[in-house]
C-alpha cells in the first residue's frame, strides 16, 4: 500500500463514478463504467489483493461491460437524465 498512489487512483475512481451517472448517452455511461472497473482493478492490485484484481478485470470489466452493451444495443441509447 502506497498512500499517494492510492489517493490519485481514488480521485480518478470518484471522477469516473460521477461521470458515469451524469452523462446523458447510455453507451458513453457504459464505457465510463468500464474505465471505472479498470481503475478499481488497479486499486486492488495496489492494495495487494491480486486475485481480486484478476477477477475484477476479467469478470466485471469484461463480462459486465459486454452484458451492459448488449442490453443497450437491444433497447435504446437515449436517456432523459
Amino acid at each position: 500500500m502506497i498512500p499517494a498512489f492510492d489517493l490519485v487512483i481514488l480521485i480518478f475512481v470518484v471522477i469516473c463514478a460521477i461521470a458515469a451517472i451524469t452523462v446523458k448517452d447510455l453507451l458513453s455511461a457504459v464505457m465510463i463504467l468500464g474505465a471505472y472497473s479498470f481503475f478499481m482493478c488497479l486499486m486492488w492490485a495496489e492494495m495487494g489483493a491480486v486475485d481480486v484484481a484478476f477477477t475484477e478485470a476479467s469478470v466485471s470489466a469484461g463480462i459486465g461491460t459486454v452484458l451492459l452493451i448488449a442490453a443497450v444495443y437491444r433497447t435504446t441509447r437515449r436517456s432523459k437524465d
Binding site: 489517493l7 451517472i21 455511461a29 489483493a49 486475485d51 443497450v72 433497447t75
Partner: protein, 126 residues
C-alpha cells in the same frame, strides 16, 4: 490529528462512492442508470472490505520460499490478511450474476412498454 486523517481518509472516499451509487439508484429515472448505480455501490462495498485486510509493511498473501524452508515458522504480520479477499471474490461473481438478471428484466420491460424511463412506465401501468 494528521494521523487520524491519514488513517481514515480512504474510508470517507469509499463512503462518497457508495453515496454516488445510492443517489443513482434512488434519484435517476432511467433503468440502466439505476443498474449502473447498483454496480458502483457494490464495487464500493467490496473496496471497503478489501481495505480492511491491508497491513502496513506486509506483502502479498503468497508464500515466496515455501518449498525451500519447510520447517521455518511463518510470521503472521508479514502477509496481508487473505480472508477478505476470498469473501470478496465470491461477492464479485455474485455482483455479475445480479447484473445479468437485472439487465434481462430491463430488456423485458423495454419490449413490453417500449421505454426505459421510470415515470413513463408508471404512467403506462396506470
Amino acid at each position: 490529528m494528521v494521523d487520524f486523517i491519514v488513517g481514515k481518509y480512504n474510508y470517507w472516499i469509499y463512503i462518497v462512492l457508495m453515496m454516488i451509487g445510492f443517489y443513482a439508484m434512488i434519484g435517476k429515472k432511467n433503468l440502466i442508470k439505476k443498474i449502473i448505480g447498483m454496480n458502483i455501490f457494490q464495487t464500493a462495498i467490496i473496496l471497503f472490505y478489501v481495505s480492511i485486510g491491508c497491513k502496513k509493511g506486509a506483502t502479498l498473501p503468497i508464500l515466496g520460499h515455501a518449498h525451500g524452508h519447510a520447517g521455518q515458522a511463518i510470521q503472521t504480520s508479514a502477509y496481508i490478511n487473505p480472508l477478505p479477499h476470498v469473501l470478496m471474490l465470491t461477492a464479485i461473481v455474485v455482483m455479475v450474476a445480479t447484473l445479468g438478471v437485472a439487465l434481462a428484466i430491463g430488456i423485458m420491460i423495454y419490449l413490453k412498454y417500449n421505454t426505459l424511463e421510470e415515470d413513463e412506465i408508471l404512467k403506462a401501468v396506470k
